[in-house]
Symmetry: C2
Subunit: 252 residues, 2 copies
């Protein structure tokens, strides 16, 4: 199984605004799709507030358990941006002004506007290397297997470009979607279970839709696996089985 | 400080579809806003896949650390719905058909359609009580301090209504938003830090906006605290200070 060789990753979302309900996080989904495209398995995500003990605890658990950890949030200029210090504490290293980060920020701001708060954004845990920020210049950083990125989605997404070449990739997971309309999950559950038993190397998911009251009700079946030929076979067999039961399906 | 008395909560999102990037989770945000309205502090969230060891590990860590844990996902009729069994394993109790759940499901489905898969949805860990599902009937359940709910957002949201009366509530956190346009976070960081030092009982957050390239750039300042009079005072003082610096603000 190529699964054995795929790198395993976790995401750590940092920010009171997510846990207070003020902000709907979208970074986890962006990173999930990014990692999927590289064949890296995202196995866990955590969200914590702007508290050093919480960040340190979660980060140390995740970086020990997974090949890569991606964090978002808390690297701006304000007092509630404590991620660099928390990451330094987690790794047991000092946090200092990074000359290259300082140079980048000095270029961005006119001398009168480059105040102490903005200068804080040049502070990086010792041993860290910068992650480029093509949107607002203030960099993220990598230390060990941890990639520390901004919380603003546009900036976070841009930073991923500089992260890509640093990652060991895996075989991509192939996905096939079967859309079953007019019947609920319960009507296809037994067929799906049988398919999963026959092909234990694949993952079979089932997601009902249409509870909003607007339009059709049905079930989306998802087949996932690294062996594309086997995924295609599973799709073929499952489609045939469902059609033989008189169930309408669309392959998407 | 009333903060001491506020219950603390965590959320556990269960589902491969979130970590694969297929689905953008919205349940965390819905639960976060629900808990905020009850004065319950949401302190952590985790997302794990449909794997029993992961669910058991995360659930046991969270239910030990927090007053309440809310889970979403994995309680449907298909083979990948393993939450009831995982919760039973976490609590060390058997999972059995719950007579009341069975009665609810028998009423919903015509005899010919009430198959083994659908009957699985009546299985609840011993000692659990049901959480009503007014959308599709298949219930969630509560066991100890853990509330197990559906992953489909419409159903999850409806289940929260039956959860509300079971929760100890806290003093609500009052929130004031100051929208600062035309200047970045770095320009207001020092003023904000000073305000936070003066009032350590409040939380001051800062969130830049406008990086999408469409329209105004600025910073949203958020003041949060359980003492409404102090939150109002902080808003007044911070507004005055920003205006004295010639910065445009709008209180929202």
């Amino acid at each position: 199984m190529t699964d054995q060789a795929a790198p395993a990753a976790a995401v750590l979302i940092i920010g009171d605004e997510i846990l207070s309900g003020r902000t709907q996080d979208t970074n986890l989904n962006t990173i999930a799709r990014f990692l999927a495209s590289l064949g890296i398995d995202l196995l866990e995500a955590r969200t914590v507030g702007d508290r050093q003990d919480q960040i340190v605890g979660a980060l140390n658990a995740l970086r020990e358990a997974y090949d890569y950890v991606f964090t978002t949030g808390g690297i701006g200029p304000t007092h509630d941006d404590i991620t660099a210090d928390a990451v330094g504490a987690a790794f047991g290293v000092a946090v200092r002004e990074h000359p290259e980060a300082l140079a980048v920020l000095e270029r961005r701001y006119p001398p009168g506007e480059f105040n102490a708060a903005r200068r804080r954004m040049a502070r990086i845990p010792e041993g860290g290397t910068l992650i480029a920020n093509p949107v607002t210049d203030a960099p993220g950083f990598q230390i060990g297997n941890v990639f520390v990125m901004a919380g603003v989605p546009k900036i976070m997404e841009a930073m991923l470009q500089d992260v890509t070449p640093r990652l060991r990739t895996g075989a991509v997971i192939h996905v096939r979607n079967l859309k079953v309309t007019g019947v609920g999950e319960g009507a296809v559950a037994e067929v799906l279970r049988a398919a999963a038993v026959v092909r234990p190397g694949l993952s079979f998911g089932s997601y009902p839709f249409g509870f909003g009251g607007d339009g059709e009700v049905g079930t989306q079946l998802v087949i996932r696996g690294r062996d594309e030929a086997e995924v295609d076979l599973a799709e073929h067999d499952l489609s045939q089985e469902l059609r033989s039961m008189g169930i309408d399906i669309a392959v998407t």
